[in-house]
Symmetry: D3
Subunit: 306 residues, 6 copies
């Protein structure tokens, strides 16, 4: 359950409005790595966390902070939109020709849809969507995703920082840069803590590691038709990060199989184009292994029930 | 420019078809972290890479490998669909009642749209989309995203591995697990290489670090109304990962501002609800700073042109 | 800024797991009218509200409550997924044939993506997206949307209520039904308050009412080729809700114009198919009114600058 | 079955082209509340209506009218695009520098994709999608959604009305404002009719009202950490709209439960991070209630079949 | 403007309900090639058609027919859903265990969202979206898209036809197959008519054909690392369809350039990773050709205005 | 499996940067008919092709070529973005006022997200999505879709060609026009080959042609309320393309049925609005044919198992 403290976490006041910048800052609200993404990603990771204690509490703490970041950025965008040109375009341009550039650069949806307020969209007006986030229940994998989100988010913040001279905007973005720096660390330290606590064996996602194909987990494959300078990287030689194997570099590797991907004859009821070279296909129920498998199970049902 | 070697990288042959498993394996093709994601993510990172040499070559090598992984998984799905029930449902169930479960669990689009072939969709039939990927031009940030994608992809592979007993499927998934293990390492070693080569100052995205707010880049904020066990984590104390500050834990922190987010009077032409308490709003051109700023620029145009 | 109170608003405990119900309940989290919708809709309406005081506070109060509802429903879904079949399908079906139905009906993404936790998706696995919500700045229009969202949400809750006998689930849904009942009232009373406070002239969105076409704002048009029983409804006769006109019913109405939608000759550079009947089209700059209008403005720029 | 009357419902002729306005008007065609939304929403509500007679006829009448509105607006957009700059940008700007602003503000897809015609997209080029609409079969809930759609649509029309001085465009928008005014009334009167006809007990969606939690259907909860002025609204006191209870205002409410959302041990096959504090988790088939429930059913199958 | 004739074009009555089939038939309503696609595609092509006369009338005629097809299919789906299991799942399965398969296979959104009616979604519950359609203004290109849509739609209809034995459903699908056959012809004949009327020079989209690279418009490139049997096809030899050149087959072709895609030094303000090998990059305004180009234009503005 | 040849297929070098053109060219990368579409469409058609030999090889050859086209266009876009204005907007405009137009017209995501590189998006910043493509297994239907994609793609290329004077860009687009011309032919010749090889009976998709309704497969229906000039087209008279029937033109056709689409009484558990005129509805299990059908099957299970 949540509570609302009616102050912003940090001042979000531009010195003067700038409708073009408002459009750009939408990326930090509703973009792939905007605040809505980290907010929803952390909240769902927290809701789904299996362990009461420091991990769940930490995730919920930062998830709650991020709701407030959406608030800060939305407030900033709404204030940047003050006095944005929403009236008759031609009249406006006549009164002040340079407005043409602003009109070209601003997002008219800020006026049409939002009435001068922030939108849950990115800088191109694309609605935020939950396909951006992940909450897998596996904290190592999710903390990796969280580091990534904070790094990309910080980079975008840094780029937008260079697009304005407004001291009020810059002050808030300096705060955001700082939080993104800390949050990157937080998730990296979280990974370290998972290992220290014995909840992960390595810094890699390595579930079912005993079953993985050990021949192919330490080889770099180069698919280049000419010599590849990829061979010069640390990823192409030296000890692997886990286990005691040496990384191997494979130039122009042959396929590991002569399987050419030939598909079986199609079900004639599906009208896939087929020349009959492999003999006739059979409709679903008659010949397919799904049916075959099912028949086996049917026997087991019979056994179980009779 | 690309070439096609008409063999699969690794054998992709199930021992017998299984339409329900085919549906689940679509997640590994067209899901958020499926092979289409890593393929397109790495190709775009490679196309946009600014440095000829080992980094660009490495990225293109793995991007090219991933096209082949889409091929392997698509082939596997098409083979798993052999004999899948596509004909009259009732007739099928009458002939073999257990088919009902298979029919319930399979994706009918495999028949209706794909004619028994793989689809560029996830396990719920949602088309893959480029909003899943990132290619920012900043290799440190992108390698972080790549580690994340490989970790999540491996985790999903591992989960699906547990959903089948088919030796052919398991053999291919063991190969995929191995490649995901190696690729996680590859990107982590890439980050190390960036630092070693002086292309990044730290393991964190830290552009414009001189301008970030140094007061707030090493504090953990707890927003919990009751004591939070987040204080027990490494992220809440100890040295920061960059710089020489100590991380601080802030329980029940007050807002850093008394800014309550009050917005300015709205443009009356937008019909936002407003009670006039802050005085009348002004239409876009008349009072807004956008116009003000524009006027200044207009003067500069005049100066420049006359 | 927000705070986290580490208790659920209301108990969210099923008596026993039910993976199929978990899938259905996702509609109440990430569907078009799920809790994510009302949460984000109210938060953005609150962030963008122009008036400090009872309206903004009310919107933020309910927005904050709804974050907790996402938490409640996510917890319920995760608990319903306990012991859901995620392992080898065939083995599971052999051990207990009826599991086939459950496997067919559950969403495998709950296992593959969510690791047994809730997802920010609807009941068909479609990610929530911000295109569902609206925050227009006009409280009358937005409160209308809020009533609609609560009514549809309550209806879906009521339908799902009938799909389970689980006392724990039913108890929570009874609470949700109650909140949706209250929230419908809350927004309707909010509309009444807007009128009482003089912030809206009528229960209709009526901005620029003085400029609207008064001939056509009180007529019901029937487009049926046979007599329409729509004439029997209150919407087809009687006094209009605003103003003092009587509603009129127009059967088989003629078009109000002889404009047949004929388009002008196309720009030849765009290769739209055209037979030249209206004379030659002209490329963009040469003849179009955009250029014409622009030329006028260009004159004004010149006037302004010289 | 439908018929086409080859005249527009109302004249859709701008006095002169304006490519920037054309882009903005796309919001009224393919936006969240554009004419495509009301057209498809009403048609599906009509197709799914269970009652022959005035309700179904009314819904189909207005749905049919809205197809014609899509036609009117598309025609207007195509005419506004006449002579829009589609040729070499630099050449155009050299010939008429002010074209730069137009080029910046127009949607190049109008040329590239549409060849100078209207698109089924919103003002940011986002394709219309059916996730915007609802047709629930419950007319009370759907009429609420319809009022909302007409109100938001009218507001957006009104905002765009202020962005042009073109008399032809304004005349058509005045017609549209009028229809949106009438249609708001139509749906509100429809709700009244449902109540008068005994098809709804109250103006609220209240299915299964006997089962809802009566303790929590008349309380306003304030989640603000400081006193909330929401207490001053009509929604916080006075009689409820249905039933005979008084609305109650609850400041700083405690959670209704001590349920802290702790989740059960995870299925080890899913590799959710877990420290074992609640004892070992069990794979899906072994311990989960899904299996338990299924076993019960299995017994019933046996009983039924033997 | 449209009219509604309150009869279906063709009877849409199943002999008995079948909720699983209802789910599959949604593909024919709201899928990529469902009736909503052809309906909206043809209507927008008609609205945007530049020539009054037989082409525009034909397009509008078929667009109007397709609205009625959406109606037919929606009616069929709603009737197929009669008596679909929407109540307590466990109770239902206890009463009739085989219902489990139906429950697994049906779309619960038909109950939860649609109240037993059709949805504007595909067979996986994905909302229809306008990104499926095209209306380019070029009738040759659009008629090609229309043939494609009718062919794919007919194929899907044919596949679903094989999934049912219901005589009522089959009768309607036989009608739909017939219309799709005719409509394929209609668009192919339309292409022929465009050529006969001199509105297109060839059956190919060939705008600006005089400017296209004549060396590369008649060569088949094989990118296979092993000999390709593609050389055996008619597309690899013989006369080209337009012009008088012979098609040439190019095995293992070399790149036409030694351009290796090296990108220029990045703008340092964007923090793209860069080792400085090509010298320092410059911020946007200082060195970029955009600025250079702009400066030139600036001179022209000055010339024009002074 | 794929290989990477580190040269572009054709030179992709603009003479000078142009950020606005870069934005427009994104349509050719990530738009509905961009290179990502043909690349993924052909690869999936190839992966799913049932016949080893010339068809599969041809499809894979062109699919592989298209990956290289994505590379060419991405390289072009990144080079066009050189020196694009990414820094402080106001400062830039002050230094060079005409930059305002460029800033208005460019896509800021090129800087914020892509760091000066190409994006997998269309010209409005909408991510590419797999809902654009089709791979049905039926080569005739798919080749129709491929012709359509090449024709639309060529048309868009041709339109953008007219928007630039840059010789480098034009040279590459001339190459692209040529390839699109050849590829249109390739797919048309492929259709001819399918017929010549006996893999298709006609140029139409005609699966289950024996079962289609022969009365309605050769009639043009006009739904116009006034005489339609559609009667003048070849599609309205003359011999059908298959079979020996003459096409018939039906003006103002009556419905083929008196089925008015009346739906059965709703399941009361779904709360669809209903007046009881058709008698009471029944809950899912009690009366529906789904249950009826299921009971029959249940008997068959019993028969099969006992």
């Amino acid at each position: 359950m949540f509570r609302y403290d009616p102050h912003l976490q940090f001042t979000s006041k531009p010195d003067k409005p700038d409708a073009v910048l408002a459009m750009k800052m939408q990326e930090l609200i509703g973009g792939q790595f905007g605040e809505m993404t980290v907010m929803m990603q952390y909240l769902f990771q927290g809701f789904n966390c299996r362990m009461p204690g420091k991990y769940k509490d930490m995730i919920m703490d930062i998830g709650t902070e991020e709701i407030g970041h959406v608030e800060m950025l939305s407030t900033m965008v709404a204030r940047l939109l003050e006095g944005a040109p929403a009236e008759t375009t031609e009249k406006a341009v006549a009164a002040n020709p340079v407005l043409g550039a602003i009109i070209g650069g601003m997002n008219p949806q800020h006026a049409i849809i939002g009435g001068g307020g922030a939108l849950p969209f990115n800088s191109q007006g694309i609605p935020w969507q939950a396909g951006y986030i992940v909450a897998s229940g596996n904290l190592l994998a999710d903390f990796r995703s969280n580091v990534s989100a904070e790094a990309q988010s910080r980079l975008q913040t840094s780029r937008i920082y260079g697009m304005t001279d407004d001291p009020g905007v810059k002050a808030m973005l300096q705060f955001n840069l700082a939080r993104d720096t800390f949050h990157q660390q937080q998730w990296l330290l979280g990974i370290q803590n998972l290992i220290d606590d014995g909840l992960s064996d390595s810094p890699l996602e390595d579930s079912r590691s005993a079953e993985e194909d050990k021949v192919h987990d330490h080889t770099f494959w180069s698919f280049r038709t000419e010599p590849s300078r990829a061979a010069e990287g640390r990823w192409a030689s030296g000890p692997a990060l886990v286990g005691d194997q040496q990384i191997q570099y494979l130039p122009e590797p042959a396929a590991l199989t002569d399987d050419d991907g030939l598909l079986p004859p199609p079900d004639p009821e599906l009208f896939a184009t087929y020349d009959g070279d492999q003999g006739p296909g059979a409709p679903g129920t008659a010949g397919g292994a799904a049916a075959t498998g099912a028949k086996t199970v049917a026997g087991k049902i019979k056994d179980a029930l009779t």
